[in-house]
């Protein structure tokens, strides 16, 4: 019904194809990959869910949050607290509780933060996330700087999540489910209102939309979905520490979303996978003479980010669509 957007909400054929191929590859992967790589791809899928949750906030609603990792970490810690020393905890109780915890935190912090605009919003989201970070970092009772271990994966009764491949497919199911949900939401009345808020909040208010409650709802939902990702992360890695809620984690999320392309959730998935792969590439760079190239991966990552912002601010999807647009022009 709508005309092509500059914000790439309607996915071009090329991207849809890419996603389908990607899904096929993800399904096939556990049958050909080693345990090490299954773990790695599993982590990427979890980060993709995390990135999509941020995309809802950032790409769709236009709220740049530098503290989104707080909700990622809270759910992870919730699972850590709920998992007893000697036995697993039920998936069916721990998952809603953990995600609910993240959602509640997002609701409370969101209530304080959504009333601010622009730069303020960026800074206060960061500040509150740091507050959560210090809450866990400074308190031995909450694990302190060392963090907490989980001795068991959650018990799903019907399937065995301790099995790597089973857990992998469970994560994949969550990834697909979240993607489908968010795509549906994007074209719902709520999603359309959020897009309107991003493009012209003033007019939305003049039209009678309660923009505060819309933004708060988006903030809370995004927090809940980040919690889902954090829960899976804790379950998979068996370990949580305050870094999961830290500034760097939040900034990584932003970078993943930007790298892929904002506003359509497909970009978030692409960005998450690309970012992690890039990180591995930089860390594994062979030494040039005496210079340990890999050790200084932060430098290459930093330069890459700077280059990305300067030359390709619309990310990978932006580049793909530009490429295909030019091809179409030549055909005409």
């Amino acid at each position: 019904m709508s005309a092509p957007q500059t914000h790439l909400e309607i996915l071009p054929r090329s991207v849809q194809l890419l996603l389908v191929l990607g899904l096929a590859a993800l399904i096939a992967f556990p049958f050909v990959g080693t345990n090490f790589y299954i773990d790695m791809v599993n982590r990427m899928m979890i980060l993709a869910i995390f990135a999509m949750s941020l995309d809802l906030l950032q790409g769709v609603t236009g709220l740049v949050s530098l503290g989104h990792a707080a909700y990622f970490g809270i759910a992870g810690y919730a699972l850590a607290f709920l998992t007893p020393e000697g036995a697993p905890v039920s998936l069916y109780t721990s998952l809603p509780l953990a995600v609910g915890g993240s959602a509640l935190a997002a609701l409370i912090i969101g209530f304080l933060v959504v009333r601010t605009q622009g730069i303020y919003f960026i800074m206060v989201t960061m500040a509150f996330a740091q507050m959560v970070f210090f809450l866990f970092f400074d308190n031995k009772a909450l694990g302190g700087s060392d963090g907490l271990f989980l001795n068991f994966k959650p018990d799903a009764v019907l399937i065995d999540l301790e099995n790597k491949q089973v857990f992998y497919f469970f994560t994949l199911a969550c990834l697909v489910g979240v993607y489908a949900f968010l795509r549906r939401l994007l074209w719902s009345p709520f999603g359309r209102a959020l897009s309107g808020i991003r493009v012209n909040e003033h007019r939305m208010r003049a039209l009678g939309f309660g923009t505060f409650s819309h933004k708060l709802a988006a903030f809370t939902l995004a927090g809940a979905l980040a919690g889902l990702a954090g829960y899976l992360w804790a379950a998979q890695s068996g370990f949580v520490n305050p870094e999961l809620m830290g500034f760097h984690m939040s900034a990584h999320a932003i970078m993943m979303v930007i790298l892929g392309g904002m506003g359509n959730f497909a970009g978030a998935i692409i960005g998450a996978f690309s970012f992690e792969m890039l990180l591995h590439v930089f860390k594994d760079l062979p030494a040039v003479g005496n210079f340990e190239t890999g050790k200084h991966w932060q430098m290459w990552m930093g330069l890459f980010i700077v280059a990305l912002i300067v030359f390709a601010p619309k990310g990978i999807l932006g580049l793909i669509t530009r490429l295909f647009a030019r091809k179409e022009e030549r055909h005409e």
Partner: protein, 259 residues
């Protein structure tokens, strides 16, 4: 004079910025089936008045009533939900959306959509028939049917002004505040818009801030002339046309008062 139903009124409305009174002790009434035009030289306070009535600016003193409620100090969202709509002098559209999406969003605003309702997250916005109907009607009325699939940033300035009107129409507002709707329109488009206003008049109360004197005198039932934030004179078009005080107010200003 037949019984007039007052939909909106303002009494002793004043807005000060520091020492300057942009709007000073202004009374205005908007009646159903009536177009009330507000004219005056630049800087007269017309836009400020509109902003006060729509809730975009809080008044320094005075009261505003809408449909029986005292709306002084209400937020724009709340006022809008009480069936007031406004168009802007400086085009205030969703530039990256298509014309259809602009108006559709305006039409959607009338649905009682609590953002916390998960059902609203899964419904398809394009499937809301009532919204689509309102949208189509508004676009048609504003004369933009040919352009509905075009991105709003790429249509002509005059068409963007039409879009402004379409958005207000889509909200089915009972009281409409139109801030220079004809600005930037060619004579043919202006004439069409004047016809639209005439058609709308029967079921709305309209405040029309305008510089286009031909349009104002073709369509207004009452004209209020503002100068330096105050009401100079208010009355039927014939009275304003003949008024010496009004002629003098325009003398020496950039606007001309030739009818």
């Amino acid at each position: 004079m037949s019984e007039r139903q007052t939909l909106m009124s303002a009494r002793q409305l004043t807005k000060r910025f520091g020492g300057l009174a942009a709007v000073n002790d202004v009374n205005v009434d908007l009646w159903l089936g009536h177009i009330h035009a507000v004219i005056g030289p630049n800087g007269a306070g017309k836009s400020t008045l509109t902003n006060l009535l729509s809730g975009d600016l809080p008044p320094t003193s005075g009261t505003i009533t809408l449909d029986g409620h005292d709306i002084t100090g209400w937020t724009p969202e709340k006022i809008s939900r009480h069936r007031l709509g406004r168009s802007y002098q400086k085009t205030n559209i969703f530039r990256t959306f298509s014309v259809w999406d602009n108006v559709r969003l305006a039409a959607q605003s009338r649905e009682r959509h609590a953002p916390w309702n998960p059902l609203r997250w899964l419904q398809s916005a394009a499937g809301l028939t009532a919204v689509n109907q309102r949208c189509e009607r508004a676009i048609d009325l504003a004369g933009l049917t040919q352009r509905s699939q075009t991105v709003a940033a790429t249509i002509s300035h005059g068409e963007q002004r039409q879009l402004e009107i379409a958005m207000v129409l889509a909200t089915d507002a009972e009281v409409m505040l139109l801030d220079e709707p004809l600005a930037g329109m060619g004579s043919e488009e202006s004439a069409k818009m004047v016809e639209v206003l005439k058609r709308l008049r029967q079921t709305r109360a309209i405040l029309l801030v305008e510089h286009d004197m031909d349009a104002v005198f073709a369509v207004a039932d009452t004209i209020t002339v503002m100068v330096n934030g105050e009401v100079l004179e208010s009355g039927p078009p014939a009275q304003i046309k003949a008024s010496v005080a009004v002629q003098q107010a325009y003398l020496g200003s950039e606007d001309s008062f030739h009818v």
